[in-house]
Amino acid sequence: MTRSLNRLMPVFATTAVFLAGFVLCSLAYPNFASLRVVMNLLTDNAFLGIVAVGMTFVIISGGIDLSVGSVIGFTTVFLALAIERWGVPPLAAFAIILIICAAFGAAMGAVIQYFELPPFIVTLAGMFLARGVSFLMSTESIPVDAALYSHLSDYAIRLSGGARLTVPAMIMLAVVGAGMVLLHLTRFGANVYALGGSRTATALMGINVARTTVLIYTLSSVLAGLSGIVFSLYTSSGYSLSAVGVELDAIAAVVIGGTLLSGGYGFVFGSFLGVLIQGLIQTYISFDGTLSSWWAKIATGLLLFAFIAFQQITLYMARRSRLRPAGVAQGVLQP
């Protein structure tokens, strides 16, 4: 059993960091420890949480997706234009944008797979493309006044103490839940891990590597699109410059959540905690009032370094113990 627990170590570390952070904040500001603050944390970081789930799949498979921030921006602009200018019903616009995003992700996955190019540069091109197209569609911020938007942003499940579980938060929680099921409980999820463990071995085991790769990037782009929908609901507008740099926040959340950037290991729940930790830092800074926003970036960088160094040391130790002279057969052999 201990072997299985070992694998969960990084997530425990992330949980500990989050809880410690929360306790520290609560000690500093007595009204911090409230359901209301927690719910706001969920609402404010909903869009980031959704993309981080997709990014978790990509990174576990050994890839990276730099295009997600631009896809969010593109989605908000597309929705604003479709609903406000072209008169498309909001729900239909949602469906259309998700299909566009799926096609976009599938195309990136196909290029990565069939031309054997590094994911980082292909998704970089995707990032330019999505941001460029949204600039071309509109450079202004377009407000969205659709009735559905105000309904959705007013709707919330009221909890005690004035806390509200909003629609964006609900969507994020649902995505996190679904992501956990998909990654940990399905054949597709196992294939994602296998790809990150060894691409050639996965192919030799008869898994369709091409199909899995295309699906992974499709999933990431669709979730970026969904995140864009949430962002658009949250801000009630569409703006081509929105969500600049979100890809970095998402990658940071995934790494802080205990996922190995070289692939093969990680958990959706860890990424969720990673998002909450970043949110916690932001909230702390806004509670403090005197601290400046840049501390968030520095703190994120420090956390990133700490987790990457931690991973590197763990890998090193694991490699050392495996290189020990043969003879220490683990497990029970019964010849």
Binding site: F115, L124, A125, F128, G132, S292, K297, I298, I308
Partner: protein
Amino acid sequence: MALRLPRIGTSQVAALVLILAANWMVSPQFFDIRMQDGRLFGSLIDVLNRGAPVALLSLGMVLVIAMRGIDLSVGAVMAICGAIAASLADSHSLPVVLAAALGAGLACGLWNGLLVAVLGIQPIVATLILMVAGRGIAQLITEGRIVTFTSPELAFLGSGSVLGLPTPVVLTLGMLALTLLVVRGTALGLMIEATGGNPRASALAGVGTRVITVAVYMWSGLCAALAGIVAAADILGADANNAGLWLELDAILAVVIGGTSLFGGRFSVILAVVGALIIQAMNTGILLSGFPPETNLVVKALVVLAVLLAQSPRLGGFLAGLGVLFGRRP
């Protein structure tokens, strides 16, 4: 593995000429250069001047990529060094300002190099740390404000001119010459290409791959620092939020356009600079032709894709196959 004969960069130069010609078609005054107050003006000079920061970054990036690495932090390092230069400019002499800013750049490079060479972290991951934290550090230095300065000495580096050429262009040419001297005047260039081409063989041939890795990231940090100083000097201030934003991507693009493979090995410093000029010439051309500047990103995306597909081992094999089919020896 695709083996290429030594490149002379015909395609890059042809692309640059083609883009410049296109610019001339949409704007007949494109090649007009006039002298005013002892300084040259004109669209062509503008391309050189505005292309300077990316060209500077590409000088470091090309060496990093030749070593099979990547440096995502150069934009953030630009912001840090610009912030340092701007905050010190009015209280210290120029040599002190420059030493502080360039020293900061070298320190950032050292950090990246140690993470990659000593801790063995993949370059993309190692430099991501500084990419995220660096901008925060820059904002810490400027305290979140846009720091302005009046020092004419520093301003000269951004908007002055030497022998009629804008200072950034002169600095870039100087740095280009220095880089060429460092890599081609010594045996470093050979060792970088050998290590990027086959790290194991190079280590067995006695090449000190670790030291060279650290040195190359430090050079990248130095180039980024200079680019940051030029950018700050140009606008008489430092904007920690926007200085160098996304320029790491342009620098990578310039290197890739310059024909250096993302998989390491052979590199060309001059062609990387040509790559930077190609990017800037496209930017300028799009502006001149009256297209919205936003078209830029879309065009860039298509260029990245085209260059990548041309470099792709798959496509290379495919084309070689075609060549054989049509009776041409590959």
